[in-house]
């Protein structure tokens, strides 16, 4: 980014502020309503992914065995018809007789009977259930053979339902979206760094260096992508950090080609020749003149690369090679949802909608940037 900032404000420019390529482009981008709306939407998503998890009541890896695959609902669980069977289960486990049962608002009041004195530690079954807070003994009768017990109902909100392990889908989507977006951005940055350096060096030095470097790119191009990734997985294990390095290490090839093409035309410009004549060394020319001037097409390619990487990552996660449980990415959630499409279709719909909306927005931003940075296309 420093290179961009540097291009925006030419050093010690006098009063009439010149209009640089970047300020022009920004103005054009701001006029593109779809791109601006997408940017705002993406900012909102990023905020939700980072802060949202603090707001949701459940941790992403918290399992609720009593709420497996419950439907999304605005009303808090448990529903009225879930309380009865849950109480029956608890009573059966405690091996006592329930003679009287009343549900008053948020509190269940029960009376237990047993031929022998009831061990009050058995009330732990209430605590273990996801539906109730710890129960309290209100009254002991007949030397402990009759207990009156009160158990408050624990209300839980599952706005997006739960998954097949009984975890809150909203929390998982927020986590997964964050990870997907993070992988997309980081992998693209890896691709950016390798690709720009590789392409600029190959293009600037030309000749034999260029030939060897671009031949390497050609060879890597013809290797099947999946072979590459699996090799990396085999070498380093299924690692979250590795994922984006692997994807980035594959996606830099296009970037290198683009940058090389740009460099070939830039290096013949007069200002580069002037710098050479002044005795600036190669690394200085590359850093000060060549790379900043290739950034236009690179930025465009980068914004379109992010959704592509997210798709790739989700594809790998679908194959089981990507992010591992209990962590999650949108690809993991979508593939889970696809397996449960019958009966629990919300498990596919919710993550897929967010995924598609996110990619849509990223694509709009990329298209908007391309139009903004390409003055020919006006």
């Amino acid at each position: 980014m420093t290179a961009i900032d540097g291009a925006q404000s030419p050093p010690s420019s006098p009063a009439p502020q010149g209009r640089s390529l970047w300020s022009d482009a920004r103005a054009r981008l701001m006029q593109n309503r779809a791109a601006v709306a997408s940017l705002i939407f993406l900012a909102f998503l990023a905020l939700a992914f980072t802060l949202g998890r603090a707001i949701t009541p459940h941790a992403y890896d918290q399992v609720f065995p009593d709420y497996v695959k419950v439907q999304p609902s605005l009303k808090p669980y448990p529903l009225a018809d879930q309380i009865g069977p849950a109480l029956d289960r608890i009573v059966a486990r405690m091996r006592v007789q329930a003679v009287d049962r009343k549900i008053e608002g948020d509190v269940v009041r029960m009376t237990f009977e047993s031929p022998r004195p009831i061990d009050e530690r058995l009330l732990a079954y209430f605590e273990r259930s996801d539906l109730f807070h710890p129960a309290r003994v209100v009254e002991r009768q007949e030397e402990g053979r009759r207990l009156v017990v009160e158990a408050p109902i624990e209300r839980r909100l599952f706005l997006f339902g739960t998954d097949s392990n009984g975890r809150d889908l909203l929390s998982r989507i927020l986590l997964a979206g964050g990870i997907s977006l993070l992988i997309g951005i980081l992998a693209s940055l890896v691709a950016l760094i390798i690709g720009v350096a590789w392409g600029a060096i190959a293009g600037y030095f030309g000749g034999r260096v260029d030939m060897v470097m671009m031949r390497i790119v050609d060879i890597l191009y013809s290797l099947p992508f999946i072979f590459f990734v699996i090799l990396l997985v085999v070498f380093f294990g299924r690692n979250f950090v590795l994922m984006f390095i692997a994807v980035g290490a594959i996606e830099w090839l296009d970037m290198a080609r683009i940058v090389r093409g740009q460099t070939l035309s830039i290096k013949r410009q007069e200002y580069v020749q002037a710098a050479e004549a002044l005795g600036v060394d190669s690394s200085g020319i590359l850093r000060r003149h060549i790379i900043p001037n290739t950034l236009g097409p690179v930025v465009v390619f980068l914004t379109l690369l992010v959704p592509k990487v997210i798709l790739l990552e989700s594809f790998l996660s679908f194959l089981g090679l990507g992010v591992q449980e209990p962590m999650s990415s949108l690809g993991v959630l979508i593939s889970d949802g696809a397996k449960n499409i019958q009966g629990a279709s919300y498990m596919l719909i919710a993550p897929a909608t967010i995924f598609i909306a996110m990619l849509f927005a990223l694509n709009f931003v990329g298209d908007g940037l391309r139009d903004a940075l390409d003055p020919k296309d006006r």
Binding site: D218, I219, S222, S314, F318
Partner: protein, 306 residues
């Protein structure tokens, strides 16, 4: 032209050789072996297995043996599917993947370029926006979402088509996989066609045609030919990818194609099968890039064979 083709194929040989060498040694250096099970095999059994598959020789000797058999067109025995050679596995699975891939590509080419041309001719109209929105959707929705949804709608809800399976190539079984494979390709081809078509429509020769009031089909004929160039150069790698089967589509629709070998072989350390898939992809990429260049020269007479 024949000379050009021979020259191009010959120049691909060093690249192929490097790819084979690179993947051979990378695969062998990777930890784990083809006979590693949860419960280790007896030492004697392991030793025999290794001898049968010549894994007990030094690595460079194995490499030379492999290269020699490769020159005879033999990809070696599979280490995991022990009753089959890699050649046999490919002979059974490759035609299936190629048929589905080629059909999907053909469908995508026709539908995609027509939609793209329509959008370009009616630029900024409702039809244009509809096509472009559909195309963006088609690119962003992953196949592993499209496939189950298609299964649910056409297989279960409407019960028109079978959910999966190959059924010896019955056409009813291949509709859903072809549709799943074709949808993203349609989207990409429509976008490419639209973008290049808009540029071509602005060019002098097409403007002349239009200003002379020639019917639409003449305009289309001339502009589609020029606008096809970027689409053709996209088709090379895309064809290679489609012909070698889609892992996702073949898994979801239970098609005995070649796609699943890519993942299974590498995870099982089935060395020869991995090498087979790598070589297959590399050869197809080389071939399709050559075809692309030939088509390019045919479409655009200014391109000369170098």
């Amino acid at each position: 032209m024949a000379l050009y083709i021979v020259k191009r194929l010959l120049s691909a040989l060093p690249t192929l050789f490097i790819i084979i060498t690179l993947s051979f040694f990378l695969m062998r250096v990777a930890p784990g072996g083809p006979f590693d099970l949860e419960r280790p095999l007896e030492a004697k059994v392991m030793e025999n297995l290794k001898r049968v598959y010549q894994l007990d020789r030094p690595l460079w000797e194995q490499y030379l043996i492999y290269l020699k058999s490769l020159l005879h067109g033999d990809l070696g025995p599979s280490f995991y599917w022990r009753d089959f050679s890699v050649n046999e596995l490919f002979a059974r699975a490759l035609p299936i993947s190629m048929r589905i891939g080629a059909t999907a590509l053909g469908v995508a080419l026709v539908v995609g370029s027509l939609l793209g041309a329509l959008a370009a001719l009616r630029q900024n109209s409702a039809a244009d926006y509809a096509v472009m929105t559909g195309a963006t959707l088609g690119i962003t929705i992953p196949t592993f979402v499209v496939a189950p949804v298609l299964q649910l709608v056409f297989g279960l809800a409407l019960a028109w088509l079978p959910l999966g399976g190959w059924n010896d190539g019955a056409w009813r079984n291949s509709i859903l996989p072809i549709a799943t494979l074709a949808l993203p390709q349609i989207a990409i081809i429509a976008r490419l066609t639209r973008a290049s078509m808009i540029e071509v429509l602005r060019s002098h020769h097409i403007r002349t045609l239009r200003s002379q009031g020639l019917p639409l089909r003449y305009v289309l004929k001339h502009s589609l030919r020029a606008a096809a160039l970027p689409v053709v150069s996209y088709l090379g790698p895309a064809a290679a990818a489609l012909m070698t089967g889609s892992i996702v589509v073949e898994t979801i629709f239970a098609i005995p194609g070649i796609g699943r070998y890519f993942v299974d072989a590498a995870l099982n350390r089935d060395y020869t099968l991995v090498m087979g898939t790598v070589i297959l992809v590399a050869v197809l990429v080389v071939l399709f890039n050559l075809v692309v260049d030939l088509v390019y020269a045919w479409l655009d007479p200014r391109v000369r064979y170098e």
